[in-house]
Subunit: 213 residues, 2 copies
């Protein structure tokens, strides 16, 4: 199909498609003339994926490029694969942070580690995700948002429910598993946050309906 | 304190503080000379809040402005308050969408409604959050991410656990409740998504350790 049809099929302007092509986010079509190329179903799927990652998951183009690189070249072993998928979900900054020398006596890192350990999860304070959790706790505190240990443990319990369902849905083949962990996680994040808001409405209506004796 | 001290206390460059002041995100200090003003602890708290909303919750300045407007002028009744808080958490687009004429026969809206109804929650397909859920489901499908009903129900169950803890933590006073619902939700979203990733690591390690007979 021509680029005009690719635009129609994906709902994106031709200018955006040309931008994706120029940036290498979508592979080139088969050239049929100096300024014309033909695209196929694989192009449609790739454009829709880039669109979902930028629009729905709000990823930067650099982050999209990182995700696509991992999807296009998945590791052979299933164990490496899950590590690579988790790695693709980190930010550039987190990836390049490396291991700090001494385990810093940061109270937020200690609290993040305690939350993780309280669930019986393996906890490494050098793990970029534990550090991200610590940064989140620090930011909430700076904005004067207090979160009790019980409140945080409820979040961790809920995350366990989510993650168990996520892991159960990972297909057996390497490429499919990679896609499910990386793309699936990014595109279901907004669903979880939306369901949280709907559940809040529900819970506050229920609380409001209770007699305040 | 002078603006240089405000910068030191909040960890932000003077240029950023001047930008916040110019944009009205932080109220002016008390002028002591034509180009000098003094700031107090309320300014420190406000700057830290704006910083957390932009950096940690990734809000646009327009969204920050909306959140601050609601915090600065909370409704008198507790019931209006929770509605206003939920309203402040919507995007501009969602707020201005209005009620569509006919209940569109959109399969994603039907599925979103079914997810909500399956939990026994009150469901209104005109609710902007139910519409946001439908858009999220549509985006995941466009990127070829399949989510089973069981998987989605696990997300809804987890959201219930999260929302119950959220609502239990809302203080009794109107201003405090408003702040907790709006700022608390925005700043704990990243914590939940981070815990999800840590729990995924944990769940996949556990799955990998199981004999594959």
């Amino acid at each position: 199909m021509r680029i005009s049809m690719l635009a129609e099929r994906t709902g994106l302007p031709v200018a955006t498609l040309k931008y994706y092509l120029r940036e290498g986010l979508v592979p080139p079509g088969i050239a049929t003339a100096r300024t014309q190329a033909l695209y196929d179903e694989a192009h449609v799927a790739r454009v829709l994926l880039v669109r979902a990652l930028t629009e729905s998951a709000s990823l930067s183009l650099a982050a999209v490029r990182q995700v696509l690189a991992v999807l296009d070249d998945p590791p052979a072993s299933r164990h490496d694969l899950l590590g690579a998928a988790q790695h693709a979900l980190l930010t550039d900054e987190e990836r390049s942070a490396g291991t700090p020398g001494a385990p810093a006596a940061d109270p937020w890192l200690s609290r993040a580690a305690a939350v993780v350990a309280a669930r019986g999860w393996y906890c490494d304070t050098d793990d970029p995700l534990v550090r991200r959790l610590a940064e989140g706790l620090r930011a909430a505190d700076a904005a004067d948002v207090t979160i009790s240990d019980e409140h945080l443990d409820a979040y961790a319990r809920a995350s366990e429910t989510i993650a168990d369902a996520d892991v159960a849905s990972v297909p057996a083949d390497a490429a499919g598993a990679m896609r499910q962990v990386v793309v699936g996680t990014l595109l279901t994040d907004p669903l979880i946050l939306t369901l949280r808001r709907i559940a809040q409405q529900q819970a506050s209506d229920t609380a409001a309906a209770r007699p305040t004796s």
